[in-house]
């Protein structure tokens, strides 16, 4: 008896923890929500369907619980940044650093024709030297953006840790003119950095920067992107950005969707993904607290008999939970039923899911419109946006969604802006920013 007692106690406690685990995890777990825009589909016809995969970040218990950050601020100090711009940038950086504490690691890199590591990666025990170094940044020279990001990432690598939020915050107001300068090259760099768990947030200041390059870099590494026309707004943007950085709850989300039963994936709306046969893979670098991020996958469903229920796809999400510091896995399936009655189909519509799908489809239209405008086809771009507005309008009515209605109005405005020759540089930057934010559900 004596011998068995402790053993029994061990076993009980073991069972207890095992029971409690899901309960604990419930609070500290990313929520995976799978929905089909049209859960009931028309029978006997091949058709397209939108699958919405939504991920919700759980709530952080408090400031003390947050994940420590490892941030590299990369500032453009080329000649064009002279005057107010650099002053505001310095202020914004200092204010933002002020929000961090001794758990966090910060580094500051400034680039013109060359790159200078102004503050090497350091724990924020003593802020004054960091502030002093930042205040000494002066403007002048060219724009070695690529090298700047490289050195910033290198500073992050000194303390690279998957249990930290690793982020490069890039501020630029000009075209990269030293080193690689094409959006695709910066995109590939972003891709590689994302694999290490580093994301790059790009903040474009003024009207001189290359928005394609900045959105590519941010998009490939799943960072944020913002267009700041007035340098005075930098402080606000930096605050938002750092707010995001400090509310990350999950990282390295690898989402794998496997289409079943002859369903064929067509495209992933808004995000980059890899489609191999019936499988789609994509990744999110991070998920923020109490924030929804979603993907919309357009699939083609083969014709089915009425009354049949079909499993369209299975979804698996692997991620690093920063609250528990463990790797977690979520999965789910998507089912669709088929009916011959149009009314039944109509009634079953999942409004939020369809809304998201419509939003993303319209966003794709908007992107395409910008591309056409770039090729000089102003009329084509305009008509595309008008078509998009019409589509949004009809769906807004059907779903009685004010959000879509607003997006429709926006599309109409954009169509007007598109045709104006002057100010196109600003419009394009605004459009790109808007598209980016919509596609990635950016919080600010």
């Amino acid at each position: 008896m004596n011998m068995r007692n402790p053993l029994k106690r061990w076993i009980t406690s073991f069972w207890l923890t095992l029971f409690c685990l899901p309960l604990l995890a419930q609070a500290q777990e990313v929520k995976l929500d799978l929905s089909l825009a049209t859960p009931v589909m028309a029978a006997n016809a091949a058709q397209k369907a939108f699958i919405k995969i939504s991920l919700d970040g759980f709530e952080l218990k408090g400031r003390a619980e947050r994940t420590p950050a490892n941030v590299a601020i990369v500032l453009d100090r080329s000649g064009s940044m002279g005057g107010d711009k650099i002053r505001h940038a310095r202020e914004a950086a200092i204010m933002a650093i002020g929000r961090l504490d001794a758990r966090d690691i910060v580094s500051v890199v400034a680039y013109d024709s060359q790159v200078e590591v102004v503050v090497p990666a350091t724990k924020l025990h003593d802020r004054e030297p960091v502030y002093r170094a930042v205040r000494h940044i002066r403007a002048g020279g060219n724009t070695a953006l690529f090298a700047g990001v490289s050195k910033g990432a290198q500073e992050l690598r000194k303390f690279l840790d998957r249990n930290r939020v690793n982020r490069v915050i890039l501020l630029s107001d000009g075209l990269a003119n030293v080193g690689p300068q094409s959006p695709s090259e910066l995109g590939r760099l972003g891709q590689s950095l994302a694999k290490e768990g580093i994301s790059v947030t790009t903040i474009g200041l003024g009207l001189g920067y290359n928005e394609d390059l900045m959105t590519q870099l941010a998009g490939m590494s799943d960072g944020n992107h913002a267009f700041v026309e007035n340098a005075a707004d930098l402080v606000r943007i930096f605050q938002y950005e750092f707010g995001d950085v400090m509310s990350v709850v999950a990282q390295d989300l690898i989402i794998e969707i496997r289409c079943l039963n002859g369903v064929r994936p067509l495209r992933l709306l808004g995000r980059e993904g890899e489609v191999i046969g019936d499988r789609v893979r994509t990744r999110l670098n991070q998920l923020y607290s109490e924030q929804e991020k979603y993907l919309v996958l357009e699939v083609e469903v083969p014709a089915q008999e009425a009354g049949r229920e079909l499993e369209l796809a299975s979804v698996q999400v692997d991620y690093a939970n920063l609250a528990t510091r463990k790797a977690d896995r979520l999965d789910g399936r998507i089912l669709a039923s088929f009916s011959a009655s149009a009314e039944e189909v109509q009634q079953a519509v999942d409004k939020p899911a369809l809304e998201s799908a419509v939003e993303q489809v319209a966003n794709e239209f908007s992107r395409e419109a910008v591309e056409r405008r770039d090729q000089g086809d102003v009329e084509g771009a305009r008509s595309l946006l008008e078509k998009s507005a019409e589509f949004l309008g009809s769906q807004a009515q059907a779903l009685s969604s004010p959000k879509l209605e607003a997006q429709k109005e926006e599309a109409l405005q954009d169509a007007d802006k598109l045709s104006s020759e002057e100010d196109w540089s600003r419009q394009r930057k605004e459009l790109r920013e808007k598209q980016y934010k919509r596609a990635t559900q950016q919080s600010y």
């Binding site: 024709s113 060359q114 790159v115 200078e116 490289s150 050195k151 090259e185 590689s192 191999i276 046969g277």
Partner: protein
């Protein structure tokens, strides 16, 4: 004459200046060349060390990729699973894409009969020509150091400078061998981290250990391919597994550049290392990829160096202020002392010149003084002579013979004195080129006889017996005063230097238009060494005062000058005994 002294002085100042300047310049040039060479060498070393750093990156990358390839091979069962390869690519930071060729060079991955992702399709399209060129991944020469350039189209192994047709750039080869000690920690650590995160490879660590043990034995074939395709430089590392299959790792070009940049110093560090210089990393088009160092000007590079394979199309450039500019202060250090020296020498020269001028002025003053005095003496002397002669006539025959003798002495001495004064005046006139000849129609024989007659008492007194052979016998047009002065000088010399010598022969004849007179004494003659000097002014063949011979030393020189001024000459002829002078005077005016 007037400017000669000044000219000489200027030369004296300029010559050493020029010489020193030239020498200094040469020295400086040599030194500059030497410094330039040393600098070039230093720059080259610096660039080479950068190249080495970049090479080290590739070495470490190679080690990492080799290990990862080994890991993949160990997991192959027996074929490589597409799933595993894809997950490798997904997690690999450096590798963008991967391909596997079978031992028959047929593509195994990306899989042939399965759907591919967009990226994979693009890769296949792009690399098709590479896979089709036979033997590319099986180089025949196993020389590890030399990168072999295999022509895909008609490409040659291009020097980095000749990269105009960069679209054709294609080089395949291996890294230069380096001591394994250099291939140390950082990348390996990182690799370990990367592996730890890749959940898809649970067996990787074990595999790596096995590979690490086997590594020295399995030095399987591998190599690097650098290929310029679609306006971007593609790097492929290929590795042959023991079963003859080839794994090709297509690197993420942006990441590769980023990593290379991170191996190079940043602006702060670079500024400290290089000082006033800049090193640039250039791509094949000559665009700057990265630069560091404080020097910012855009000029031609002092030196450029092509990088080693697989970055063969890239180059490094070293920029710094040009050497000449750097040498300017040195040039100043040469010029400044030279200028100082010049000023010093010039001042010295000027002082000397001024001194010289003053002396000349003094001398002129003295000559003028003597002239003046002579003139002043001449008038009273003439009076003395005149009255002495008048007195002699009055007393002729009446008085005491002693009185006559006294008067003779007065007359003689005053004559001598007047000759002396004439000499001095003529001398100074000759010096000032103010001598004027006044030719008259005179019979020279008569004049000579008269002069000899005047000298006769004096000569007799000194034991010399004059004898005159007149040989002209006609009147000629010449300046009798000049002839008289010349003869006076010769005769008084004879009286002074050849006492008690017996016969003094004077001969005259006409040689064409030249009036010639020869005066030959029987005295001691003139030593051979003195023959040329006797005509120099102020020279006396015996300067010893104790000789008791008086004289000014200008007599012979003056006589010759007078003869020359008269279109003739006075020469010292060779003779067996005594001195023989010959006077020649031009009589044709």
């Amino acid at each position: 004459m007037k400017y000669r002294a000044a000219l000489l002085l200027i030369l004296l100042v300029l010559l050493p200046l020029l010489l020193l300047g030239w020498l200094g310049y040469r020295l400086q040039q040599n030194e500059q060349q030497l410094v330039g060479l040393q600098l070039q060498k230093l720059i080259e070393q610096q660039l080479e060390s950068v190249d080495q750093q970049l090479q080290t990156h590739f070495q470490q990358l190679e080690t990492l990729l080799q290990r990862q390839a080994g890991g993949l091979y160990r997991l192959a069962d027996p074929d490589y699973s597409a799933e595993r390869l894809r997950s490798f690519v997904k997690n690999s930071v450096q590798v963008q894409q991967l391909f596997v060729l079978g031992h028959d060079d047929q593509r195994q991955f990306p899989p042939r009969n399965q759907p591919l992702s967009l990226d994979e399709q693009r890769l296949v399209e792009r690399l098709q020509p590479l896979w089709q060129s036979p033997g590319l991944l099986r180089p025949a020469d196993t020389d590890p150091a030399a990168p072999s350039s295999l022509p895909l189209a008609e490409t040659e192994p291009l020097a980095p400078s000749a990269m105009a047709k960069s679209a054709d750039y294609f080089v395949s080869g291996q890294l230069a061998q380096r001591a394994p000690a250099e291939l140390s920690a950082p990348m390996n650590d990182y690799a370990a981290k990367a592996d730890a995160y890749s959940q898809a490879e649970p067996a990787a660590p074990a595999a790596r250990q096995a590979e690490a043990k086997a590594a020295p034995a399995t030095s399987t074939e591998s190599g690097w391919i650098a290929w310029y395709v679609d306006a971007r430089l593609m790097h492929i590392y290929w590795w042959r597994d023991p079963e003859g299959r080839t794994l090709g790792f297509v690197l993420n070009d942006a990441r590769l550049l980023s990593d290379l940049i991170n191996r190079l110093p940043d602006a702060g560090q670079g500024g400290e290392d290089l000082g006033e210089a800049q090193i640039r990393l250039l791509d094949s088009q000559g665009g700057t990829l990265y630069s560091w160092g404080q020097y910012r000007d855009n000029g031609p590079a002092l030196r450029s160096l092509g990088l080693s394979h697989p970055l063969g199309s890239w180059s490094l450039e070293y920029h710094a202020p040009a050497l000449q500019q750097a040498a300017t202060p040195v040039w100043l250090t040469l010029v400044a002392p030279l200028m100082l020296l010049g000023v010093g020498l010039g001042a010295l020269g000027y002082l000397l010149y001024r001194e010289h001028r003053r002396e000349i002025r003094l001398a002129t003053q003295r000559v003028n003084f003597v002239n003046q005095v002579s003139h002043e003496l001449k008038t009273p002397l003439t009076n003395v002579r005149l009255y002495a002669e008048m007195l002699q006539q009055r007393l002729d025959g009446e008085a005491d013979p002693a009185v006559g003798r006294y008067l003779g002495v007065i007359t003689d001495e005053s004559q001598r004195l007047s000759r002396l004064i004439d000499n001095v005046l003529s001398f100074s006139r000759l010096q000032r080129q103010q001598l004027k000849l006044t030719p008259e129609n005179v019979n020279p024989d008569e004049q000579i006889a008269r002069i000899l007659e005047t000298f006769e008492p004096l000569l007799r007194q000194r034991g010399v017996e004059p004898r005159f052979d007149a040989g002209i016998g006609q009147s000629l047009n010449y300046d009798p005063a000049t002839l008289e002065q010349i003869l006076n000088n010769l005769l008084s010399n004879c009286e002074k230097y050849a006492p008690d010598s017996g016969e003094l022969r004077v001969r005259s004849w006409l040689d064409g238009s030249l009036l010639c007179i020869e005066v030959q004494d029987s005295g001691p003659g003139i030593e051979a060494g003195d023959r040329h000097k006797v005509f120099e002014p102020f020279y006396r063949s015996s300067s010893r005062l104790t000789d008791g011979i008086t004289g000014t030393g200008i007599g012979l020189g003056l006589a010759r000058d007078l003869a020359r001024a008269h279109g003739g000459d006075l020469t010292l002829e060779a003779s067996e005994s005594g001195a023989c002078f010959r006077i020649r005077l031009e009589t044709r005016t």
